[in-house]
């Protein structure tokens, strides 16, 4: 019986978070650095080309809110998967070099003024995606080189080495750049969701969908693996396959998210912990709850980043950490 009561409470928590995330997505486009009339924005009788309110709503705000939701959900869920996969509370997308690879791709594209598009996706998101996929291939190859599945510790160490390597190359590329380009790459590293269109979201969605399909298959296996891989294997978990699915889906989600919004700090590492403090550690609940909380949190942070100092914007990665860290510390202290 207690199990079922827990299940009901967990379902309720996910529902509440779902409602809050939906509310955030619906309300956030109504607010901005300028005032618009929603009635005028949605008035179809006026041609779109002449309707400033409609353009502010559909070109400036809606893509931002959708991007924030997608990026926040992907980073948070990927973080939760990485932490379970590596059995390490400090793991995140940064740990395995995925965002390091993305940063390298984006930095190179900006420094060398890359100029190519694919399906309307601009060069910097493309390069960042290529970088994160490259990092994933390297990590995966390292993992696969060990016949008996991957030891979490070995993978963690490989990730740290890979990250250091990417960081060094990023610095090397930056040392070749002019001051203006260096400034732009540093700014990209702080994250921004002002994408002004739906192409980057559309480009990221298929990857996020694949990753999501992978993540949906994981919760039970991840729960059992938290007891150790031998114990999980004894209970019928295909440890190797679980690890592969977890690694690939979390990396894909991260790569897609970073290509849209840059490596927004804090979400991938802390939102999963925040959510565990709220709903417990059952991955059937933690994974959807992390995605919903991440979406809601980033939509809210982006709202602040675009309004607080308007007309100047605050990089969203600064807002996430400044708001998130104290909140997390408060939860941590209160719960102990």
């Amino acid at each position: 019986m207690p199990a079922r009561a827990d299940g009901r409470r967990a379902a309720a928590a996910v529902l509440v978070l779902g409602a809050l995330a939906t509310a955030a997505c619906l309300l956030a486009p109504l607010v901005g650095s300028t005032h618009i009339s929603l009635a005028r924005a949605l008035d179809r009788s006026r041609p779109f080309a002449d309707n400033v309110d409609a353009q502010i709503f559909f070109v400036a705000r809606l893509p931002r809110v959708l991007a924030a939701a997608l990026v926040g959900a992907s980073l948070a869920a990927a973080g939760a998967v990485f932490q379970a996969l590596l059995r390490n509370p400090l793991a995140s997308a940064d740990t395995l070099g995925v965002s390091g690879g993305a940063a390298l791709g984006a930095t190179a594209a900006m420094t060398f003024h890359a100029d190519f598009t694919l399906f309307g996706i601009p060069p910097v998101p493309l390069a960042s995606l290529a970088g994160s996929l490259g990092a994933l291939v390297v990590v995966y190859a390292l993992a696969a080189a060990r016949r008996r599945g991957l030891s979490a510790t070995a993978l963690l160490l490989a990730g740290i080495a890979l990250n250091a390597f990417f960081a060094a190359i990023v610095l090397f590329v930056q040392s070749l750049a002019s001051v203006a380009d260096t400034f732009r790459t540093v700014r990209w590293l702080m994250g921004s969701l002002d994408i002004g269109g739906y192409a980057p979201i559309a480009g990221a969605l298929p990857l996020v969908a694949v990753a999501g399909a992978g993540v949906v298959s994981l919760p039970r296996a991840l729960d059992l693996m938290s007891l150790g891989s031998e114990a999980a294997a004894a209970r019928g978990v295909n440890v190797r396959r679980t690890e592969q699915v977890a690694l690939v889906s979390a990396s894909l989600a991260t790569g897609a998210a970073v290509s849209v919004g840059g490596p927004v700090s804090f979400i991938g590492i802390v939102v999963p912990h925040l959510v565990r403090l709220l709903v417990g550690s059952d991955h059937r609940v933690v994974l959807p709850a992390a995605a919903l909380f991440g979406a809601m949190f980033l939509v809210g942070c982006d709202l602040l980043s675009r309004t607080v100092f308007a007309p100047v914007e605050l990089p969203v990665g600064i807002v996430t950490a400044i708001i998130g860290a104290p909140f997390f510390l408060w939860l941590l202290v209160r719960r102990q």
Binding site: T34, A49, I56, P122, S192
Partner: protein
């Protein structure tokens, strides 16, 4: 907030420039200049033959292409600079470490920082006094001032379009837009050319406006400025079409101007002002 600071540093430049060369010391003959805009000024005031090395990113005038390079703003190569035995080094205000080293080596410096348009001619004159070309510097500065006055006279009394001056943008997107804020030489050149700065209220050299802010402020003209000698295909202006409600887009008044004169706060700003003005105020330039 930065205006008084800048005025102060310019005053210091103006005061320190000539003071660094006591009357009995001869004019410097081995100048190392790390700042592209000042290199251009040195050549414009006739001190080109005295320049022995320049910074990594110097391109103008063409004569500098043959000179040795000694690093840039962030990575000045102190060793190579010292090896050239310079008798004057032009440094940027923020190059603290380099300045300390040069001071220890007893090498005179000319300290420069980007500022507003008045600062450009003031710097040219101070520079002239420091390198023994005071008369030519004054002539060059006066020529620049006259050209700017002529451009301003052309557009006097005409309605001034609200103008968004874009300095940088991620290719094929409207992301990471950098625009001229309400302070600095670009802002001043825009005034001279007959435009009104869309972000005049933000008193900084550059702002990073959101798409929403650009839509809401409805610029009449959008001008993108690029250094270099030709446009890349990344300078494609089509992403602006998404902002169809902006008058500049609706009326086909989105322009790309390419040339180092638009990005260097140097002696060619008169040229830049005229080119910008022809785009902003075509009526004023009809023969």
């Amino acid at each position: 907030m930065r205006r008084p600071l800048l005025a102060l540093s310019l005053a210091l430049v103006a005061a320190a420039g000539p003071a660094q060369r006591p009357p009995d010391r001869p004019a410097p003959r081995r100048i190392v200049c790390l700042i592209p805009a000042v290199t251009e000024m040195l050549f414009a005031i006739g001190a080109g033959p005295q320049v022995v090395a320049v910074g990594t990113f110097d391109r103008d005038p063409p004569a500098v292409m043959a000179l040795p390079r000694v690093g840039g703003l962030l990575d000045p190569d102190t060793e190579r600079i010292l090896a050239l035995r310079p008798d004057l080094v032009v440094v940027y205000g923020s190059q603290q470490e380099l300045r300390e080293r040069l001071a220890r080596a007893g090498i005179p410096m000319f300290v420069y920082e980007h500022g507003d348009l008045a600062g450009v001619t003031a710097t040219m004159r101070a520079l002239g006094a420091s390198v023994g070309r005071a008369r030519q510097a004054d002539e060059a500065a006066s020529r620049l001032e006259a050209r700017l006055r002529a451009v301003a006279a052309r557009v006097r009394g005409r309605p001034r379009p609200q103008t968004l001056v874009v300095i940088a943008r991620e290719p094929h997107t409207l992301s990471n837009i950098y625009a001229s804020g309400g302070y600095g030489f670009l802002h001043d050149v825009l005034q001279v050319a007959g435009g009104r700065n869309l972000f005049a209220d933000v008193k900084r050299q550059s702002v990073q406006p959101s798409i929403e802010e650009i839509l809401a402020r409805r610029p009449d003209v959008i001008v993108e400025l690029r250094g270099g000698d030709r446009a890349g295909s990344g300078d494609d202006l089509s992403p602006w079409r998404r902002l169809a409600a902006v008058p500049a887009v609706k009326n086909g008044r989105v322009f790309l101007l390419v040339g180092d004169e638009f990005v260097e706060a140097g002696p060619r700003l008169g040229e830049a002002a005229e080119k910008l003005s022809r785009v902003l105020q075509p009526e004023a330039w009809r023969p």
